[in-house]
Amino acid sequence: MPSALAGGYNWLMKLLYFAWVRERIGRGEETLAVPADVETVADLVGWLRTRGPEYEAALSEAQAVRVALDKVHAAPGASIRGAAEAALFPPMTGG
């Protein structure tokens, strides 16, 4: 609802956490009302860090945290607008 966003309303986003980000935050997923002024991936990480010490512990190594929007890797400057799901995780170590 673009008009609601433009008006500054919060919007709902599904957050997913993996590996040590998940362990430090203490849950694998949650749905949060994201303030309308949280516009980019970097804004989102910054806002989450204000939510409590467990988030701060998980996300303070900002360089080490990666974000995907709707299951696609996203750069810190990418807009989160329109994304239903954001995932936060450490650098990948598969293979």
Partner: protein, 157 residues
């Protein structure tokens, strides 16, 4: 003239039957000259590791493997491609990842395999946790700078 290939991508908790996967890709085919089968195995690191636990991002993991497969198929004229990755607990010796690439000539199959592994390491959402032999302690595997470097050598996304 080559028909576009349909890479096979799978993420699964069950152990792989690599031989069956090779057969599935090449059985009855006489149009390729080179096959490369890469398998990544759980190492015990001299007894330090009892098992690895592989966490993944369901949905995104498959999507990333498909994206990497498509990118490899666009870069090299490969005739067939399989990429599979384990999830959950694996013990030393077991296969974590398998890449099978077939092509008319060896260079394409080898390059595509190398490319896929370099991108898979840095881009596919899997994380390894080490289970140590004492049965209690666990530790997340740290990413390797060498992997970021390897990915960067391919020159673009």
């Amino acid at each position: 003239m080559r028909a576009p290939i349909m890479p096979r991508v799978a993420v699964q908790a069950a152990p792989f039957d690599v031989g069956a996967e090779i057969d599935r890709l090449i059985a009855g085919r006489t149009d390729f000259g080179a096959s490369v089968v890469f398998t990544g195995h759980c190492r015990d690191e001299g007894g330090r590791i009892a098992a690895l636990e592989l966490e993944h991002y369901p949905g995104m993991a498959e999507k990333e493997l498909e994206r990497i497969a498509a990118e490899a198929a666009a870069r090299w004229p490969i005739a067939g491609l399989t990429i599979m990755h384990r999830t959950g607990k694996v013990v030393p010796g077991e296969v974590i990842v398998v890449v099978i690439a077939i092509a008319e000539h060896r260079r394409e199959a080898l390059k595509a395999t190398e490319f896929i592994m370099d991108f898979l390491k840095t881009d596919a959402p899997f994380w390894k946790k080490e289970h140590l032999p004492d049965g209690t302690s666990t530790e997340w595997v740290a990413p390797k700078q060498a992997d970021d470097h390897a990915r960067a050598t391919w020159g673009r996304e």
